[in-house]
Assembly symmetry: C3
């Protein structure tokens, strides 16, 4: 009988080990973490991304932002200039908004009157400015990765982007890997 008991205990141990492995696997896809892939560079979309990110970070959720394509405009620092750009890169540089203060609205842009209205209203309502949102994001440890392929395509150089702690440059595989382990992902 006692041997029977020991056999049963061993069987339970094996079952528990199996559950542990399955659970570790599931936990791998479910860190308390939010990953956002940004593609749009519209003021309203960037605002939405930052508002959601700050709300998540304030709730102690890890936040990883991946800036690609048009969204990189929001990371340009108008006070910085890059040297040695070719013709195409200069074209993109001129045509795309130079920094977060130049972003356009996806609707009602009205040649810049719309963004001015929204910014005025945000100030009046006590909402943080985009400037302040990025500062707070840095303080809350929100991680920003910039899409290297987009940088190359549009001819942006690293020395043109804003100062942000631990700004990282990487490819889509990095976004996928971060997003895959997050419990929560968005495409903006």
């Amino acid at each position: 009988m006692e041997q029977e008991t020991l056999k049963q205990i061993d069987a339970l141990k094996a079952e528990i080990d199996g559950l542990k492995k399955r659970l570790t696997n599931v936990e791998g896809y479910n860190k308390d973490q939010l990953s956002i892939a940004l593609v749009s560079g519209d003021l309203d979309k960037i605002l939405a991304a930052m508002i959601i990110s700050l709300a998540a970070a304030a709730m102690d959720t890890g936040v990883k932002l991946f800036f690609s394509f048009w969204s990189i405009s929001a990371l340009r620092d108008p006070k910085k200039k890059a040297q040695g750009k070719d013709f195409m890169s200069k074209m993109f540089g001129m045509m795309l908004p130079n920094g977060r203060n130049k972003l356009k609205l996806s609707k009602l842009n009205m040649a810049g009157a719309g963004p001015a209205m929204i910014k005025g209203l945000m100030k009046k309502q006590g909402v943080l400015s985009l400037e302040e949102m990025f500062k707070q994001a840095a303080e809350l440890g929100i991680e920003i990765t910039v899409c290297e392929m987009s940088m190359n395509l549009m001819g942006f150089k690293r020395e043109e982007l804003i100062d942000y702690p631990n700004l990282r440059y990487a490819g889509a595989a990095t976004f996928v890997s971060d997003a895959g382990e997050s419990s929560f992902q968005l495409f903006i």
Copy 2:
């Protein structure tokens, strides 16, 4: 020997308790629930959001919608009027589509001919109208939360919005909290 057995059983109990805690944690991020943050107010985007939401609700998945920015146009009731609006609020009120029947397509809008075409085709194909989709959403218990900050920025008042059961007003933190416990999130 028997004491050894009891020790082993206690060890197993401790392991099981550890697994329970980890599992409860993972379950916390994985309710059978869909959370959508709506920012866009285009007819095609609102249609997509409602079609996905109704399909999910029909499969007994809980659905929570967070309407912000331009998407709030879809919740305006053209038959209702708010009093005491300031100049800016009146401007937004006039410039933005007044209700789900006035939404524009993101492409091929053609001054309203596109939406009319799509609505005609939907009717012909036996697809529910947006009107009917909201009615069904209410019946299926789909929860709608309206972004309070967007309401304030654009000067919309609660008395202008459609009648919908348990319409809730809250901030981005509420979306993040709902979305964080959902197994499935979208940004539209």
Copy 3:
């Protein structure tokens, strides 16, 4: 005493069975799988979707794409023609981009100069063309489902779409079901 031991072992078994059920449930929402609902037909959005999908598939994550509304333009084969289309279907056919080589950028389209620029730069930087991305997607087993309702609304016929292995036609419920079991979902 021994009977007490057996009772304890039975209790542990019951607890383990309970955990198994809960874990199976959670695993049901967390396959190592990415589900994307595509609605946009802009070149930049389709590129983003394919780049993310290929990165995921390369990491052995299952990928399921659901093409709806405007995104179906990317699946049109300009070399194929469908017979017996009604007036509305012909209109849509003419107004929407005929295939992935005709897609427009959401910004800086400049009557086709923008897409040409981007494609030239992609080639120069050694990025795969959209053509090659679809080929690789097929090789990596990325599954494509086309929204049946959108096909009907816009009057597209199956014989007009590209050859792609196991191209499937289904409704939103299929997307929701695929996405619900995925660990990672995007709306593009």
